[in-house]
């Protein structure tokens, strides 16, 4: 895993919004394993985009803030413009994901095990969300499973690995937070095969402060119902 020779066919998509403190380290980490990183800067008001470019990522800049779902879709379309791209990894910019997990997930795509690998923080005991967060995530995944013909344990995990043909079919229109469920729904509808991969979510003070509050789950629900 020490060289980056074998991962030229993979693009790592990182939605970026006001993460200048950590994004440089995140990208440096990711690029030790995946040289091709595209950061979609979603109208950050800080120096996130410059820091990301300095760290060696390609930066696509939204002219103004559009939301994380829109950022992912932009990243997908950017990655698709590279004809040699075979796999896309979605990765959070706040440093809560582990590069080793991403490598393991792409490896499972390579072996042909599935078309999509979802990260799940509930397959083992490494991640430690608080009780309230755990309950909200459970409710979210329950709702997602109910409405999307999929069976997952963690629908709102930003770490995913997706094969090119599936990426080509994705069209996220939920700009705000409900895009995670929308992505699962579109994969469910496309009949692509998927597996879950145990990942470790690092709940640092930084990611906790930046992460979505529980109130956001109400917004997610409203966005899903009024679709």
């Amino acid at each position: 895993m020490n060289d980056t020779e074998g991962t030229d066919d993979t693009w790592v998509v990182i939605p970026l919004y006001n993460e200048e403190e950590v994004i440089g380290d995140v990208i440096t980490q990711v690029r030790t394993a995946f040289p091709q990183v595209v950061c979609v800067d979603d109208g950050s008001s800080d120096r996130s985009a410059e820091v990301a470019a300095q760290a060696g990522a390609r930066v696509v800049r939204h002219p103004f803030n559009l939301g994380q779902g829109a950022s992912l879709q932009t990243g997908f379309e950017y990655a698709l413009s590279d004809p040699s791209m075979k796999y896309v990894v979605t990765f959070d910019g706040d440093g809560q994901h582990q590069v080793a997990d991403a490598l393991g997930m792409v490896e499972r795509l390579r072996t042909g095990e599935a078309d999509v690998v979802f990260g799940s923080r509930f397959l083992d005991e490494r991640s430690k969300p608080g009780l309230a967060k755990r309950m909200v995530l459970r409710a979210a995944v329950g709702y997602t499973n109910l409405t999307t013909r999929t069976r997952l344990t963690d629908a709102h995990n930003g770490l995913r690995a997706i094969r090119r043909p599936v990426v080509e079919q994705l069209d996220l229109t939920q700009n705000r937070m409900a895009h995670a469920s929308e992505l699962v729904a579109q994969i469910g509808a496309s009949k692509a095969s998927y597996v879950e991969h145990p990942v470790h979510i690092l709940y640092s003070d930084y990611s906790k402060a930046k992460g979505q509050s529980l109130w956001n789950s109400i917004n997610i629900l409203a966005e899903l119902i009024l679709r």
Binding site: M1, N2, D3, T4, D8, W11, T28, R31, T32, A33, P35, Q36, V38, V40, A55, G56, R58, V59, V60, R61, H62, P63, F64, L66, A70, Q73, T74, E77, Y78, A79, L80, S81, D82, P83, S84, M85, Q98, V99, A100, T173, N175, L226
Partner: protein
Amino acid sequence: MKIVLIQLLLIIVVIVVALRLLRDRGARTQAVRRLGLTLFAGFAVWSILFPSVWNQIARLVGVGRGTDMVLYALVVAFLSFTLTTYVRFRDLEARYTRLARRLALDEAGPAQAAQSVPKHQEEPYAGP
């Protein structure tokens, strides 16, 4: 029958608003909306001149007073307005999102060129 000043004012407002709405927009699906609007404006003027129609409608559907009936009608109208506005904003948002994305992607250039860009210093992977 004698016309009170408030009735005159209300009728003028209804007619002006109806005319403005009729003149705007050009899609063919607007025809139904325009017919409905004309009827609605007509009824508005009628109910201004003869407020008792609201009482008759209220009694017909089992509501106590005409003023209550007006309130209920208003609540329903406001809710449907909120919903249609929400949906319209969502469509608008989807449209300008595509536009903004196109701009951003064009500005960034194709991903393929990444290979020709000199790579930044590659540090050996030290493990997670």
